[in-house]
Symmetry: C2
Subunit: 188 residues, 2 copies
DNA sequence: AAACGCACCGTACGTTTCGTATGGTGCGAG
DNA sequence: CTCGCACCATACGAAACGTACGGTGCGTTT
């Protein structure tokens, strides 16, 4: 049985939260890890089933109305998760950025310049996302249980600010400054 | 007929390159736009077929051995592409970062600390990618045809440096400095 | 206390994407 | 001339995706 990244996502979430229903997972991921690995909620119903079938999760079926399924980690599940966590990842992150695509193909566009509008919208997007992240920090930043999970927010914030700087520079025609400042900061 | 992002990718590539075979597209994307929107090469064989069926591309079938198909843009195809380019994107970029996942779930791992190795490997990844991007800049940076397409490289570089700063700070225990420096640079 | 409405929760199903694996093609070396 | 390897193309099964629908049960209204 081959485990995908989604599998480990589920195993990890159950490990952090304790026994969970798919709906619990859905809510928990959409507010945290979902920001850097998105997937449809249907996966959170089918994937635990697969994992239970291969002994990674134990399932407890509610017999009343909603017939909720509550999944918990088995020793095998925990072992698989820890093995995965212990191995560093040779993969580079993967991006999917429609705005960047549009910028790349810009020269094939109609004569009038579409870039300012594109940049403006991206600036909006990134500022909004930064606000969301900062809000999380200020609401949970000093709670002990949250601390270790907050660290990834810093990466998110670095990336958001990087993108924001780029689109802002593009909108104001100061791309050259961008490169110069980067060279000063992280000399090659 | 519904066009996906992949459709526009193909339309855009044919627009920039002129008439192209799927293999041409594959090679061209893998060295450029593939860095921020990856997809398997099989898509580059099936997608143009779809687009040709709906009149966005014209196909010219080689009758000799390899039976190459060369696709070129029709007026409808160009119109569709330009319409797409003219509309700013409401979407935020999407990330898929296995390393970030591992970091997030770290507390569920075995007692010994897996983070240093993880960080080290990511630093390697990002330095390597930066080298690739810088090489592109230095090889094509002063060619006129390449200039407009080089601009997205700057976004790539900003992102890479952001990630590199994060993992480096994580490895050296200077995450707090990271935040402080960011605040100085981009005051909230 | 019955009826209603809405937020909560779960799953079925058709479509698209993905990756792998396989097989043909033709140039250049020997 | 033929052999080998890089080039090129597609088939096919498996996974991921998104949407759309349908049930559940709590709180509110009458």
């Amino acid at each position: 049985m081959r485990l995908s990244t989604t599998s480990y996502l589920v195993l990890g979430m159950v490990a952090l939260r304790g026994p969970s229903t798919p709906y619990d997972l859905k809510r928990a991921t959409s507010r945290s890890v979902g920001y850097f690995w998105n997937f449809p909620h249907t996966q959170l119903y089918s994937e635990p089933e697969r994992l239970a079938a291969s002994g990674m999760l134990a399932v407890d079926l509610e017999d009343s109305g909603r017939r909720r399924k509550t999944y918990s980690l088995t020793p095998e599940g925990r072992a698989a998760l820890q093995e995965w966590l212990a191995a560093p990842t040779p993969e580079h992150f993967e991006m999917r950025d429609v705005a960047e695509l549009k910028l790349f193909f810009n020269e094939a566009g109609a004569p009038d310049d579409d870039v300012p509008k594109l940049a403006q919208e991206q600036i909006r997007q990134h500022e909004e996302r930064i606000a969301v992240y900062e809000d999380m920090v200020s609401r949970h930043g000093d709670e002990d249980w949250a601390r270790p999970r907050m660290i990834t927010l810093e990466l998110g914030l670095e990336m958001e600010h990087a993108a924001l700087r780029f689109w802002t520079a593009l909108a104001t025609g100061t791309i050259d400054d961008l490169r110069r400042e980067r060279d000063e900061r992280d000399p090659r």
